[in-house]
Amino acid sequence: MKSFTQLTGVAAPMDRANVDTDMIIPKQFLKSIKRSGFGKNLFDELRYLDEGLPDQSCEGRPLNKDFPLNQSRYQGASVLLSRENFGCGSSREHAPWALDDYGFRCVIAPSYAEIFFNNCFKNGILPIVLNEQVVEQLFAQMYAVEGYQLFVDLETQKVTTPAGESFAFEVDDFRKHCLLNGLDDIDLTLQDVDAINAYEIERKQLSPWMFDVIK
């Protein structure tokens, strides 16, 4: 996994609550058996005026000019600003894959759905929780200033505005450690192979039917 340490990036808005993962990446694109290539279909139904199909080139598709990601001022954005309960619904990891493939490395919102939140950390994306008032303030500043950039520092757990105002955010120690160092979860877990084996031996004696073979 790629690491996340610091980021200075243009912020773009997804100005609504309850952004669901169907909206982030519609189901027809989930037919892919790869992890990459989802960026061109990120927010497909909002971004384009026609129906998107898998394996279709997006060049020449009619763009929804009202959608922020289609506006010149938000080009190259890497920080996505949104509202409460971001990433709700389906567990599809294709949602963070699409955000990442498009170029977003950080999301800022007042709250997230848990599975999406968790999936972000597996993909080098930092989902930051800031309270509603702060998020409202960031939205207002972003709308007022073209090319509005935020500085995100995971080590010190701070988001800093162009005016130098900083907001602290919380992050779990384990997730922070993995993200800063780009660590693979599986390797870490396999360091505890003895504990897993010991658990299985004990459990097999207590509840043998739990180990019945599925065939």
């Binding site: 189901k27 129906e51 509202r83 963070p96 709250s111 779990d172 877990t189 504990a195 039917w209 739990m210």
Partner: protein, 478 residues
Amino acid sequence: MAGKTLYDKLWDAHLVKQRDDGSALIYIDRHIVHEVTSPQAFEGLRLAGRKPWRVDSILATPDHNVPTTSAERASGVAGIEDAVSRIQVQTLDDNCDEFGVTEFKINDSRQGIVHVVGPETGACLPGMTVVCGDSHTATNGALGALAHGIGTSEVEHVMATQCLVAKKMQNMLIRVDGKLGVGVTPKDVVLAIIAKIGTAGGTGFAMEFGGEVFRAMSMEGRLTVCNMAIEAGARAGMVAVDGITFDYVKGRTYAPKGEQWDLAVAQWKDYVSDADAVFDEIVEIDGSAIEPQVSWGTSPEMVLPVDACVPNPKDESDAVKRNDIERALAYMGLKAGQAIKDIAIDRVFIGSCTNSRIEDMRAAASIVEGRQKAASVIDAIVVPGSGEVKAQAEAEGLDKIFIAAGFEWREPGCSMCLAMNADKLGNGEHCASTSNRNFEGRQGYGGRTHLVSPEMAAAAGVAGHFVDVRTFIDGSAV
């Protein structure tokens, strides 16, 4: 010391290691796999040269992409017309063959929607931890299990280590007492819960459903309720075990037998919250006041009793919420204040991991029997949740009742719940759907989903618009 909740007990029984940083390793007993969220996980194993830790703990079946017409199903995977879908289903077959995973393939009589197959085969049992790369895995919590959806990276992690890195959730109790009225179903109960607490109400919680209504509810009803815990924000929903649980599980293919059964039941009896257990949050709802529900908007919390009118954004003072209502009304093509019963429907979908079990089939059939689909309704499809459900329904003659009423009887799969196969809504079409999500575009580009119970969907298919199904049951409908 305070007693433990059901979730506390399940967590404690599966704790492999508590780490100093607050994270923990949790042992996973059952891993269910489908074609959409697994290919990248298998690929990850291959690239790292890893094998599944306990390959016999995994059960796979294709469900999202499979066609539901018998014509397209006839020649198996090769017959799937959509090439991208075909490759995904074929990839699941290839991966399961390569790694030695048991798979109920497309035309196996046991194939079906993962969350229907897990409980009905006994692959998912009380006291287990169950995961699947699918948010509706919470369904299995109805058995008194800890079950939740995971992402694809975690699918790979569970395959490689039999564990999940997790952090303990908080405990929430949803207590619904009283007695449900005639025509009020488990689906209405869970929709009413989501309407009350919102789609983020359960975020961070393991959600236990308790109270008289759930004690009296069938196992299939409990599966329906737990299925939609995620729509209330909770990754895991669960119901304490009781005699109904044991009666349901006994005799199923992968359930323990003989002495093992007795030993299992003795242990399972403890999978209830202690009388003095402490919940971080308790929500109480009067079950006798719940009415048949219909969702009007684009989030499962946008739901109202069938007699109500859709909201007027002018009545909402919060700007973000007002914006949401306006956007939802525009997307759904509804007028502020319009009566729900005046919403005409174009299609009916009876199926999905929420409502495709035999009791759902019976309930819908009881409404359409001797009636006819409205001419204005383009089609009404009934998609059983598994090959077993389909066979049972046919043995009871339910397929004939549906067909006689002008409904279509299909092959098992996820179908129009998320429209990854050919079953889709057209742009602007309204659907009375027994599925779980009414997000924009969920059932097809521009499609307009209304979430309802099987009975309400069947009645809407007959009337051509939403009606209170209780008028069908008491005979007062014209």
